[in-house]
Amino acid sequence: MTPLLELRDISIQFGGLKAVSNLSLTIEREQIVGLIGPNGAGKTTVFNLITGIYRPTAGGVFFNSENINKKRSYERTWLGIARTFQNIRLFKQLTVAENIIFAMHYNRDIGIFSSMLRLPHFWRERNEVNKKANEYLEYINMLDMRNERAENLPYGRQRELEIVRAIATGAELLLLDEPAAGMNPQETKQLMRFIDKVRNDMHKSVLLIEHDMGLVMGISDKVAVLDYGQKIVEGKPSEVQHNKKVIETYLGKGDDDAES
């Protein structure tokens, strides 16, 4: 079977700075892949390359074996790539339910004219969409908050809602940018179980940027380590954890420490 997402030798340059260079990475179906590295290593840039905010200056992004370099961001969502953001980007003043329904945009079968004239089809479709949104909300036990504004939810719940919003697009591949940022160990553990559950229940694939090593190592099938825009190691969590290069990247070389 072909991989779901394949980055082939992609690079991107901003002026003189090579933010990502010759990165190759594959994500198989129903796989959780962790992307780690120090601050400024280019992890979020990789997300922006996959979602089309940036286009690679060299190499190609392949989704379901199709080169999607030329696709716009929203077209990539239609194909099946959805993401969350490092700093939560919910539609703050829309309700929880509206946030979910918004994500179903592409898959909704209702035109502007039947909406304007409130044809029977409009009401039928509205019921269906509401029902589906409720199912998603039930999945994260948020049904009682469906009419609450998203900005009024506690931080952790906002993170969950953002993940479910990405799922509601119908995407096969979820890109999660530091989902555990700002969470306490207890919440992080819950989130870890949640991501694993999503993969198993809904057959999603996940690419995960995360600084919390417990989380990354705990659920990833594969971990890639990025430093200065280059992939330095890729492998199973247990292999990566004990890799000398990775330890050097995070903690520095022993000799250097001695000199300073």
Binding site: I53, Y74, R89, K92, Q93, L94, F102, A103, H105, Y106
Partner: protein, 276 residues
């Protein structure tokens, strides 16, 4: 009854309805979609001149000229949208302001529109009844448009453009549609205005009018359909009520605006923050 509905009050009611139609259009662009426009009066003038020239020069009947005025103003809005809707916030505002001035100067220098002399003796077709009916129809259309998949997409764009695009919405297309529909409303309103006042000149559609429309929107509550009606009515009626104050009229008008904004920054009926 006659004491209330005399020709003076009927004229105020008609102007309120016309302004409600126009400001509903501005609300779709700025309040619902969050794209600040400072050139709304330009589209009103396009509608006014379209209806006038169609009726006077080409003998098109009013009931055909009216929708055409909306259509042409909407088309102008759509075409303007192509180059400038990539801009955001203040940059967008300045370009819409510039566009408004371009339109005004074009009408000022064209011989077809009689330049600064304006066009007089436009047939008086806008009755209070027509304006009330069209304002109600406009309100219903706006309500339905903002409460469906289309309206949700626009509101999401207002909240967060990047997130909206990442959720699969072609934001350029939706912004352009909002612009086209909103400016179409301005065109219809402008046409009704021309057929009410029976005289138009480019000076009637200067940027001060765009600002007046924006004040009505912000005062009533940006993003709120009821707020639009409230803002329009208050800012149309206050100057009339204040006529007794003669030269202090505009001072009191300004003061009223100031006080409402200090105590209700989100507008009288507004319940959302719109960062224009």
């Amino acid at each position: 009854m006659d004491a209330i509905f005399n020709s003076y009050t009927l004229q105020i009611i008609t102007m309120c309805c016309i302004n409600i139609i126009i400001v509903q259009g501005l609300n779709l662009i700025s309040g619902i979609t969050g794209q600040l426009s400072l050139g709304h009066a330009a589209f009103m003038s396009i509608g006014a001149y379209t209806v006038t020239l169609l009726m006077l020069d080409l003998n098109v009947p009013f009931w055909l000229a009216l929708p055409l005025a909306g259509l042409i103003a909407g088309l102008a809005g759509f075409m303007l949208g192509v180059p400038i809707l990539r801009l955001r916030g203040d940059y967008l505002a300045i370009s819409t302001l510039g566009f408004g001035e371009i339109v005004r100067v074009l009408f000022l220098n064209s011989t077809t529109t009689h330049g600064a002399l304006g066009i007089s003796s436009i047939p008086h077709y806008t009755t209070p009844l027509i304006s009330v009916i069209l304002a109600i129809v406009g309100f219903i259309v706006m309500f339905n448009l903002t409460n469906c998949r289309f309206g949700l997409a626009l509101r999401g764009i207002r909240e967060d453009e990047i997130a909206a695009e990442m959720m699969g919405v072609n934001i350029a297309k939706y912004k352009m549609l909002a612009f086209a529909i909103g400016t179409g409303f301005a065109g219809i309103g402008g046409a009704l205005y021309a057929c009410q006042i029976t005289f138009i000149s480019p000076g009637d559609f200067a940027f001060t009018r765009s600002f007046e429309q924006l004040s009505m929107l912000v005062l009533g509550g940006t993003g709120s359909l009821l707020g639009v009606a409230a803002g329009v009515i208050i800012l149309t009626v206050i100057p009339e009520v204040l006529r007794f104050a003669t030269e202090y009229r505009m001072v009191m008008y300004g003061l009223a605006l100031l006080i409402i904004m200090v105590f209700r920054p989100q507008g009288l009926f507004g319940n959302i923050r719109v960062n224009l």
